[in-house]
């Protein structure tokens, strides 16, 4: 089930919600294409801070980091001494950390009561 996301010459399998199916299909171009499906026109430096962290965490733990880790680590990587707000993430990714940010980062869609 699912669909295909066209990224230049490349065709990437996505599920019904537009999440990529294979971890290895992801690259920067795919991320940009995924971002457009999430009403994010351009991935800025701030977006990449979040995306890179999600990918690093997933590589180690096989799941997205929980919300407070995202907020704290993003703050840290931006050189701030405190966590960013939930709103900061929603401003970057309108459908939120679990759906929008994870999709752009090429993670599977978080499931459950999230």
């Amino acid at each position: 089930m699912g669909d295909v996301l066209e990224v230049g010459e490349k065709k990437v399998d996505v599920d019904e919600d537009g999440f990529i199916q294979k971890w290895d299909d992801w690259d920067e171009d795919v991320a940009n294409a995924l971002a457009k499906t999430e009403d994010v026109n351009e991935l800025t430096k701030e977006h990449w801070v979040v995306v890179n962290y999600l990918r690093e965490y997933y590589t180690q733990y096989k799941i997205a980091p929980m919300i407070r880790l995202v907020l704290k680590e993003t703050g840290k990587r931006l050189g701030q001494d405190k966590a960013v707000s939930n709103k900061y993430i929603y401003d970057l990714f309108p459908s939120g950390p679990a759906k929008g940010a994870c999709k752009v980062a090429g993670l599977p869609k978080p499931t459950g009561c999230v």
Partner: protein, 494 residues
């Protein structure tokens, strides 16, 4: 996806019965479960050629097994009391979302194949053949029922639409027609012990974060223990408590209250989920398998007590079904309720003076409470009737100064579903979910304007997740949504 258009009804100031709009929500269909999700739960991966015979055989089996189902199908006199009681009907105006009409989808097939008048008179008695079209209708509208049972409160016969919707889903699963959201999640519980699919090391890493965070913010060394053999209490919580906002704030509240009470406790990486979507899909076998993880882990960890976190439908499973599903849990200490709700546990500590709150820590909030449907209408809490209403409220009042209750027509046993319960917490039906939230959003908005309410707390992970995503469509900020133990987290004196 964000781009899809969601139409939030305008909040007018009162809950009114909408004009009928045929097929208004017929396009709101849940994704189908893939073959792999189906087979993992023991269901056929695809629909067999003889699906109709198999479906009727399953229906026959259920009618025999659940006398209540047959009684509900036989009893309805079409009085119409339920017609305007469903939030999805009030939000969409689709007449198939009237509970009586939803039941009728099932009843017409039951009549056709299992009653004399239906066999003889057919359509004259509202009986109908089971066809592909009927099956499609079933799939759509039995996945537009959040099994909240509000309609049954108003039914003079107490007909329980949720039970009919569960049976319909069970029949559909038995012929390879399942829903992705529930079945995928249940597969993750089979594999990893929780709905999120969070492996043990990630859970430990998450708990480490909270230990450090509590230390940094309070200077107190509060532990969130995991897999500790011999702990007094096993706490089983919805896994969203390890992942999402605002859920995580309640988790920290639980940890602080255990710390202050000086009671040894543990979470488990094997039984890391209280939720049990087996109930939503009507499968006793799946529900039992999911619940058994908790039984096995309680034995392995040699705990004396089972306490459960803020999760609405799972409280129904735990409170009403565990005893027959996985019981008797007679190896646990009989001095305490089995299982015990975290709210009851916390309130006992407040009443005995073992924990104290600085209520002023919550002074920025004027708080209201949302009764979650399964807690309100399918369970009790504590040792008095109505405890499921009074205990959470007593706890809230103990830790904050400003509490305003919801109006009677949307409160306690008459509460409205958040709009995302019963296995419908999935994005592809977001338009339905937003519309179904209208009645509760209406009541909340009124309280926000009349009493400056700015926080609505609850004890259900689905409600928290759903409201957080949906209320912004009504112009209500997501920070308005919180958990009861979030207030404790703020106010407890460590």
């Amino acid at each position: 996806m964000v781009s899809e258009k969601i139409e939030a009804p305008i909040l007018t100031g009162s809950i009114t019965v909408p004009k009928i709009k045929e097929n208004a929500s017929i396009d709101q269909k849940c994704h189908h479960a893939a073959e792999k999700h189906m087979e993992k739960l023991g269901f056929p991966g695809v629909k067999p050629v003889d699906w109709k015979e198999k479906a009727l055989k399953k229906m026959k089996e259920l009618l025999k097994k659940y006398r209540s189902l047959k009684v509900y199908l036989d009893t309805c006199v079409r009085c119409g009391s339920c017609a305007d009681k469903c939030h999805y009907f009030l939000g969409t105006g689709d007449p198939k979302n009237m509970p009586v009409a939803r039941q009728e989808l099932f009843r017409k097939i039951y009549k056709r194949y299992f009653t004399v008048e239906g066999k003889v008179l057919g359509g004259l008695t509202n009986a109908e053949d089971l066809t592909e079209e009927v099956l499609e209708e079933w799939y759509t509208y039995f996945h537009q029922c959040s099994q909240c049972r509000r309609c049954s409160v108003f039914c003079p016969y107490g007909i329980d639409t949720a039970e009919i919707s569960m049976a319909a889903r069970e029949i559909m699963d038995s012929i390879g027609v399942g829903q992705k959201y529930c079945n995928e999640v249940l597969g993750k519980v089979y594999d990893l012990g929780n709905n999120l699919g969070m492996p043990g090391p990630a859970l430990r890493n998450t708990l480490d974060f909270f230990e450090e965070d509590i230390q940094e913010t309070t200077g107190v060394d509060v532990k969130l223990p995991l897999d500790v053999v011999g702990a007094e209490v096993l706490l089983v919580s919805p896994s969203a408590d390890f992942f999402s906002a605002p859920h995580v704030d309640s988790l920290v509240g639980y940890a602080k209250i255990f710390h202050k009470a000086g009671i040894s406790w543990t979470l488990s990486s094997y039984a890391s989920e209280f939720a049990n979507f087996g109930m939503f899909i009507g499968s006793y076998a799946v529900m039992k398998k999911v619940a058994t993880r908790i039984l096995d882990e309680a034995r392995r960890l040699k705990v004396k007590r089972l306490i459960v976190g803020e999760c609405g439908h799972a409280w129904r499973v735990g409170y009403s079904f565990w005893n027959t599903l996985i019981g008797p849990l007679d190896f646990l200490d009989p001095k305490y309720p089995i299982p015990q709700h975290i709210c009851e546990f916390s309130l006992d500590l407040v009443n005995s003076g073992a924990v104290k709150f600085d209520k002023s820590a919550n002074d920025e909030f004027t708080v209201t409470y949302h009764d979650s449907c399964n807690v309100a209408r399918a369970t009790r809490m504590g040792d008095k009737p109505g405890g499921q209403f009074e205990i959470p409220r007593a706890l809230i009042r103990a830790c904050c100064n400003k509490f305003v209750d919801m109006p009677d027509d949307v409160n306690r046993e008459k509460t409205f579903c958040c709009g995302g319960g019963g296995g419908l917490l999935t994005e592809e039906i977001m338009d339905l979910r937003v519309k179904g939230t209208q009645p509760k959003a209406q009541a909340l908005k009124d309280l926000m304007e009349s009493h400056q309410v700015n926080l609505m707390v609850m004890i259900c992970a689905i409600c928290k997740a759903h409201f957080s995503h949906v209320l912004p469509h009504y112009g209500i900020p997501m920070e308005t949504v919180g958990g009861v133990h979030q207030l404790i987290n703020n106010a407890i004196v460590l």
